[in-house]
Amino acid sequence: MTGTAFELTVNGEVHEVLAEPRKLLTDVLREDLRLTGTHVGCEHGACGACTVLVDGAPARACLVFAIQMQGREITTVEGLTPAQGLSPLQQALHEEHGLQCGFCTPGIITTFEAYLRENPEPGAAEIRQVLSGNLCRCTGYDGIVRAIKKAARIMREGASA
């Protein structure tokens, strides 16, 4: 196996990676670390399926090389999932039929985990505006918007409780 050795911090864990410098973060996450919840939909930053958090902010994992992410904290959908059950956002997507094929879903979860932390009470128009960076071909988006509104409410209640 050839490549360059470097460290990558993903979901709070430090991984020793041996990969070519040109290898995309998506491919290292999926192939080297076997974190296949991050999906590849376009490889040009348009569909949003590969969205991960870099130091807490959403970023397209298909637009960066893994080696550039040394010293950063990467969070994937696996890192946002509790050991048992679902997060409030995941639970709301479940209850509001916010997914069908599920391929775009991890990118929506990562995007809105970050967004709702900063914007705990978004309106439907704001949610649609932010969601417009994640393409979904199945749902028509209504269920996703309902779910995000619901998750925001549950998370607010959880925070104030």
């Binding site: 040009h44 999932t81 479940h94 069908q100 391929f103 209504d142």
Partner: protein, 792 residues
């Protein structure tokens, strides 16, 4: 046992069917633990990458592969010379009058026919290296003139796309019922209209891909591939690879959307499997987005001209339609497959008996076309758009013109001029309900006021008759290999665990949950106890797969009948356990056997687990003639067609300065029979409607005059985002079918049909003050402005 009859299964008060049960598949998908094809790890797998034609039409002169072959990590570079020797070609020659037989090899060797046509395959130890090597393959081409439109394809002296055919007119059919000439002579007026849909593509967010694993010891191929129809794919793969069907397993994991794009086996997939077999090593391929946009099936690109003979009050006496389609470079399906359904159901929910249509399909130098969610998508736009043209021509209200032509409840069952029978549909009820819900009269009043203030509003109506659940009789007539039946099995294991399977494979339609509901309903247990296994041809029974909105009726219906048969067997065993002569007074509820005593249902103390234990582990105590075990297998062939109906209403505002369209309100009233799970049905209706809206307003697969595909990214081919999509209001008004198990009908394509019509009709309503009509989609700001510039 003769088995349960489909027509005897309707009753009131289902316990599991119809409940809004949350999806079983969500737990894995939400946690990032789904398994899509590219998530499957296969050790030692090689990676394939295809070399594709940069020309729309060119002779292949020679290949130079030396540089590619010497790149470290490259295992093989193969062209049609080798691949075609290892595989059979695809021959399509169904006995359909006017359809030219076609044949295509796995990879082209003499010439390429479209920009993106695969000509060679590189296999390497790493995907990045395979892509590097593909760029090092040099192909010498001699470019040819390309035909890139329906018109140029059929022009005299046009270059031939398929040189084995006499012309590019690959299919031509005519149909007439009644006496159109006579009705035209009697008519007050003849109204003509034109409708055109652009070339589109399915755009699943997960592209295609596959992993071919050849077991050289057992001489067996396992194909991991996201597929809507695993069994037909297995048959096709075996045939193309010169293998026996028993030597092939197709295993479809989770699928990230398909919409018709993942039914057939493509040339790339056959190539990957052939190479895996030849090299005796697993080979995997992940299509990238550019390939998906340029080389996976595309769709639509049809034009329909109508001529309606009408009375002074807008009643249609006769209708003629000319249906023209650009089918692209290769026939992966019989070329008339999609257009024939348009002709077949075009008259929709309207009383028309004198009807004629002509279908002409041309080959062009573009990517091949195939079915995309609602292959007959243009149908309802054409019919309701023609009624709008009649209303404009006679200065009548569009709703009133629909009303005078629409089938009334007393007209049902109604035999359409093509011989199709409409029954258990409610077009006038849905239409009238929608007019009230959207406050049609109030809208017209506001529209007139606003127009005076130069605010241009429009309202569009589209009444949809949706053909669903195509049975064997349809597929036979359409020349599609295979059958329309579906098969299922339901098993209760010795432990009492319940598992079931059918031949369909879900690609996002949520099958696992409603299928568990029908099995639970049939057996008398709770849905949570049932596991559904789909997608693996060694496990699932043979069936035609997920296509043509047949999931609920064909898949769900067959599972329901199978579960009812298994319940009958369980009740026989329960009667023996209880010392009764007959199971007549017994039923199963919540897994417990109940007995009716004096009109009251009483618990017997026997449950499914007791029956399972007896059936498997104590067979000597079974009633005479009862086989051990609790497994039931059966098939069911749906009627030729099961029709659903809906009425779509769309209100828009047109910005006359920019040509931009804003959707202010969108409402659907739908009748799709017995609903298995309302959450799933609503999700399908909303998703389909937004897909239709995307087609009307944004999506356009553009080729230039030389046949270059100009849509290589998702910034060029634009699908609706959350900001573009309106909220879709759904009003449910369901009538069970008399012909299907539990009264189920199909749905999930009608939303596309309705949106294409309702949005377009709304925009034309808003354009009415300017005296112009939009005749082609997408209704981009540019196109709308070009119409308005002519108007002023």
């Amino acid at each position: 046992m003769s088995g349960t009859n489909a027509e005897d299964t309707k009753r009131d008060g289902f316990g599991q069917i119809g409940k809004p049960i949350l999806r079983k598949e969500d737990a894995r998908l939400l946690r990032g633990r789904g398994t899509y094809v590219d998530d499957i790890e296969v050790s030692g797998a090689l990676h394939a990458c295809f070399v594709r034609s940069p020309h729309a039409h060119a002779r292949i002169i020679r290949f130079d592969m030396d540089q590619a072959k010497t790149l470290p990590g490259v295992v093989a570079v193969l062209t049609g010379q080798e691949i075609n020797a290892w595989t059979n070609s695809l021959q399509l020659a169904p006995p359909i009058e006017g359809l030219q037989p076609t044949e295509m090899t796995t990879l082209p060797v003499d010439k390429v026919r479209f920009h993106g046509d695969p000509v060679a395959c590189v296999v390497a130890t790493d995907r990045y290296v395979a892509e590097d090597a593909a760029e090092l393959v040099y192909v010498d081409y001699d470019s040819l003139d390309a035909v890139t439109s329906y018109e140029s394809a059929l022009a005299a002296g046009a270059p031939l796309v398929d040189e084995a055919l006499p012309s590019n007119l690959v299919s031509h059919q005519k149909f007439e019922a009644g006496d159109v000439a006579r009705r035209k002579a009697e008519a007050h007026r003849i109204v003509e209209a034109t409708f055109a849909m652009q070339r589109m593509t399915h755009l699943p967010i997960e592209t295609r891909g596959c992993i071919a694993v050849w077991d050289d010891g057992r001489q067996h191929l396992t194909m991991h591939i996201g597929s809507q129809a695993p069994h037909p794919m297995r048959s096709a793969l075996a045939g193309r690879l010169k293998l026996g069907e028993h030597q092939v397993t197709v295993s479809s994991p989770d699928v990230g959307g398909a919409f018709g794009q993942k039914i057939i086996v493509y040339r790339e997939e056959i190539t990957v499997a052939a190479i895996a077999r030849h090299l005796k090593r697993p080979v995997r391929w992940r299509e990238d987005r550019l390939e998906n946009l340029s080389s996976s099936l595309q769709a639509r690109e049809n034009t329909v001209h109508t001529r309606a003979a009408v009375t002074a009050d807008g009643r249609i006496l006769s209708l003629e339609a000319e249906i023209l389609e650009d089918f692209g470079a290769y026939c992966f399906y019989p070329a008339n497959y999609l257009a024939r359904v348009i002709g077949m159901i075009l008259t929709g929910p309207y009383r028309i008996q004198d009807y004629a249509f002509e279908v002409k399909i041309a080959l062009t130098n573009k990517c091949g076309a195939g079915p995309m969610r609602a292959p007959m998508a243009i149908t309802s736009l054409v019919m309701d758009g023609t009624l709008d043209a009649v209303a404009r021509d006679l200065d009548l209200d569009p709703a009133e013109v629909r009303r005078v032509n629409m089938l009334r409840p007393t007209d049902l069952p109604y035999v359409m001029p093509t011989g199709e029978t409409l029954e258990d549909v409610t077009p006038s009820e849905c239409f009238e309900r929608g007019l009230e819900e959207i406050d049609y009269a109030g809208f017209r009043a506001r529209q007139a006021d606003d127009c005076a203030r130069e605010i241009y509003r429009g309202i569009g109506i589209c009444n949809v008759i949706e053909s669903t659940t195509y049975g064997s009789a349809f597929y036979r007539a359409a020349g599609i290999p295979g059958s329309g039946h579906e098969a299922a099995w339901v098993k209760i294991e010795p432990s009492g665990a319940i598992r079931a399977s059918t031949g369909l494979m879900g690609t996002g339609q949520s099958y696992e949950t409603p299928y568990a509901q029908v099995v639970a309903e049939g057996l008398g247990v709770d849905t949570s106890q049932v596991d559904i296994l789909l997608g693996n041809t060694d496990i699932a029974p043979y069936g035609m797969g997920a296509r043509g909105s047949r999931g609920a009726t064909a898949g769900g219906g067959t599972l329901f009948l199978t579960a009812l048969d298994l319940k009958a067997k369980m009740l026989d065993i329960a009667a023996a356990l209880l010392g009764l002569n007959s199971p007549r007074e017994l039923d199963i509820e919540n897994g417990k056997v109940l007995r009716q005593i004096g009109g009251e249902w009483m618990e017997t103390g026997v449950g499914i687990a007791d029956i399972a234990r007896t059936a498997y582990l104590d067979p000597l105590n079974l009633p005479a003639g009862t086989q051990p075990g609790l497994e039931m297998h059966r098939a069911w062939d749906p009627p030729q067609m099961t029709y659903s109906n809906s009425s779509h209403f769309c209100a828009v505002t047109l910005d006359a300065a920019t040509g931009q369209i804003r959707i202010d309100r969108y409402l659907v009233v739908e009748d799709c029979g017995t609903v298995l799970n309302p959450l799933v049905v609503e999700g399908q209706q909303q998703g389909a409607t937004v897909m239709g809206i995307g087609g009307v307003l944004f999506e356009h697969m553009v080729y230039d005059e030389s046949g270059q595909n100009l849509c290589g990214t998702l910034a060029d081919y634009m699908i609706p985002t959350a900001s573009d999509a309106p909220e879709i209001e759904i009003v449910a008004q369901h009538t069970p079918s008399k012909r299907t198990p539990a009264g189920i009908k199909g749905m999930a394509e009608g939303g596309v049909m309705g949106a294409i019509g309702a949005v377009n009709n709304a925009v034309n309503d808003a354009l009415r003050p300017f005296g112009v009509v939009a005749e082609r989609q997408p209704l981009s700001p540019d196109y709308i402005r070009s119409l308005l510039r002519v108007a002023v």
